[in-house]
């Protein structure tokens, strides 16, 4: 016999209005009589309404997993199962999508069918982690639905103190501004770290994210421990006819306001004939002028990546942005990709060996000092790593001559 629909006067108020309503979606599932999830979702709606009444959450964690993996299922048991027994177990499976969140409808339909058979019928596309979140599964259904999803070719995402699911901007698939293959780089890294994703044993989480340029559409700089961001070394490409066309289109004053004046390093000037003068030595590759004058301007041709390390949110020492540890690296050939994966492994190993429990990479670096991190990874120091040099004299400098020698040797080697 099927359950009656719970009264949800508070949630009902989230059904009106122009934005698509998740409540309407949940009710659609709850009213889908005869389906295995109908009573399950009725019960869930009851608990959610109760949360809206009391303004408290009622889920607790636990231990649920799939055979062979130590992470990827987020267990949820209800603390008020006596009131809402059918949804007493409501676990989430984190599944990694293809980089760039691409699907064909055949695959997406097959996934929803499997989920309708075994789970709640509720899917978040996507979690902040970058995962497909299959939300709401009883313990005994976790393994069967995982088997089906895994056989479709999808693997489980990360959770806990391990390497996490990654995210990349759309990059070369559809963005002319992309300075490297963000989607390919994400695959190279993630697929080399599956063991650290599925069997977490690090001090805390480690996230990689990939953006094709400084616009950082993947939010890598702050939202990942290792942010890989596209850039270029040579001069930006300028199509002066298109510059003139843009000036003609929006007017000289607006062009100056929107492009010239907004350059953070005053690297731009408008010539008397409405062509653009670019001081490429001053340009910091911020992308602004290229964004505004997309047809006229492009990144240069000698492209590669910048790596920033240490981004994270507040807990525990406060928010940190990633900072530069590799100013430039080519990422074109198979060898380049191997080098990136190798560097990522050294980053993980150093983190595993040196971070305290529950410490993120950024906090570890703050504690030990950037130079120890760089030396541990064998990364050469570079003035691009600082906004300004030290302002405090409390430092012992008796190794100065050695350091000068190293710097000179490196520079003369580079000049050869």
């Amino acid at each position: 016999m099927s359950k009656t629909m719970p009264e949800t006067p508070l949630l009902d108020q989230l059904e009106s209005g122009p934005w698509p309503s998740f409540v309407t979606g949940l009710k659609r599932l709850a009213n889908d009589e005869g389906k295995p999830y109908a009573d399950y979702v009725k019960s869930l709606l009851g608990q959610l309404e109760h949360s809206y009444e009391t303004r408290k959450g009622y889920w607790k964690g636990g231990t649920v997993g799939v055979f062979g993996y130590g992470a990827g299922v987020i267990p949820r048991f209800s603390e008020i199962a006596d009131k809402f027994p059918e949804s007493s177990e409501f676990h989430t499976l984190r599944i990694m999508p293809a980089p760039g969140f691409f699907y064909d409808t055949k695959t997406l339909r097959a996934m929803t069918d499997a989920w309708a058979e075994h789970g709640s019928g509720l899917i978040a596309l996507h979690g902040q982690s970058g995962d497909i979140m299959l939300q709401g599964c009883r313990t005994d259904q976790v393994q069967p639905v995982w088997d089906k999803i895994n056989e479709m070719g999808f693997d489980m995402g990360g959770a806990g103190a391990g390497v996490r699911t990654s995210a990349a901007c759309i990059g070369p698939a559809r963005c002319e501004q992309s300075c490297y293959d963000t989607l390919g780089a994400m695959k190279s890294i993630i697929n080399d770290f599956t063991d650290d994703i599925h069997r977490p044993s690090l001090p805390y989480k480690l996230k990689f994210k990939f953006s094709g340029c400084a616009n950082d559409c993947a939010n890598a700089t702050q939202r990942s421990d290792v942010a890989v961001i596209g850039t270029w070394r040579d001069d930006m490409q300028v199509n002066q006819d298109e510059v003139k066309a843009k000036v003609a289109q929006i007017g000289r004053k607006e062009f100056i306001n929107q492009v010239i004046r907004m350059c953070p390093t005053q690297a731009l000037a408008l010539n008397d004939d409405d062509t653009l003068d670019v001081d490429n030595k001053s340009c910091v590759r911020c992308m602004h002028c290229i964004n505004v004058a997309t047809k006229a301007l492009k990144p240069g041709k000698d492209r590669g990546i910048t790596i920033l390390v240490g981004g994270k949110r507040t807990l525990k020492i406060g928010d940190l942005m990633g900072t530069v540890v590799v100013p430039f690296m080519k990422l074109e050939t198979e060898e380049d990709f191997e080098q990136l994966v190798d560097l990522a492994h050294r980053m993980l190993d150093f983190f595993a060996d040196n971070a305290l429990e529950h410490e993120r990479t950024g906090e570890m670096i703050e504690r030990i000092g950037l130079i120890n991190y760089l030396e541990g990874l064998d990364l050469p120091i570079d003035p691009n790593m600082v906004v300004q040099p030290r302002t405090n004299c409390y430092v012992r400098t008796d190794g100065w001559d050695d350091e000068v020698r190293k710097w000179n040797e490196r520079n003369s080697a580079a000049a050869e």
């Binding site: 999508p97 980089p99 064909d104 069918d113 995210a167 939010n219 939202r223």
Partner: protein, 356 residues
Amino acid sequence: MSALRQPVESGVMDAKTFMHPTLKKNYGHWAWHDRPRPGVLRHVAESGDTVWTVKAGTQRQMDVYTIKTLCDIADEFCDGYIRFTIRSAVEFMTTDEAKVDPLIARLEAAGFPVGGTGNSVGFISHTQGWLHCDIPGTDASGVVKALMDQLVDDFKNEDMPNRVKITTSCCQINCGGQGDIAVNIQHTKPPVINHDLVAGVCERPSVIARCPVAAIRPALVNGKPSLEVDEKKCVCCGACFPPCPPMQINDPVNSKIAIWVGGKHSSTRSRPMFHKLVAAGLPNNAPRWPEVAEVVKNILHTYRDNARSWERMGEWIERIGWPRFFELTKLPFTKYHLDTWRGGRSNLNASAHLHF
């Protein structure tokens, strides 16, 4: 029962597995793009191939029928290809310009607002909340639904000086991340400890280690090992709650909502910025959080009316100065706006630069 199946540890698939053939063909060879109208992107490849992308909002937490509706639309207009953005918008791509208007009409008719491109208010990046997280102080989907209902015109049009990325977080861990406007839970009272449970479920040293201000001490309560909180030190962050659920931080009245502004991930023009506290003490007023929506709309529209083209929220405020921001938005400036955390001194005005 048969032997358990070993997982196929395949990692992620190749991105091209599900990519529209025109995207595959022109991979890495796009020439330029523009936006023929809000909600639509046109990308032109070096080969001359052109792809129109129609972008629409979703509820993110979707029932299978909603996903099937999206699939039907993709089958009808886009050769069966579909993609989602990092902020849970859905993108439909076609090489046939004639399909764009009918596609938009079909999406709107099915209840998916078309927009979120260029200088619009994008979909709010958010998390799980009461629906699924084990530590939330508020809901996520509900807050976002309530806000997007009010911001839908700002989503559908490109009337902002630059992109506006709004985020929400239902605890101070802040899954939502930095935002031009961030709507986050802010607890105002120390955790209330359920001493009967601590001994049973919590690993006391790791809870003590988690506290950012070392406010937690081991204690014997009624003869049983438990914990105590130095309430003068406690910053009400809730960090002790995930490892120790008896440290009850969530409170229907005292868990408030705070609004932060001017966060930015991009290095475009200015360096990335953290968002800054501007308003707090707003009630966690489910199901529609009207007080939060008022403050968000006030800030958003003040920004829209005052910022110069391409200034992100944080850049605009840097130019006009904080006195002017508080004056324009009529938000009160309090002692809580002074940063007291380590490194917070760099947020003070160490100059004779003043705004009047």
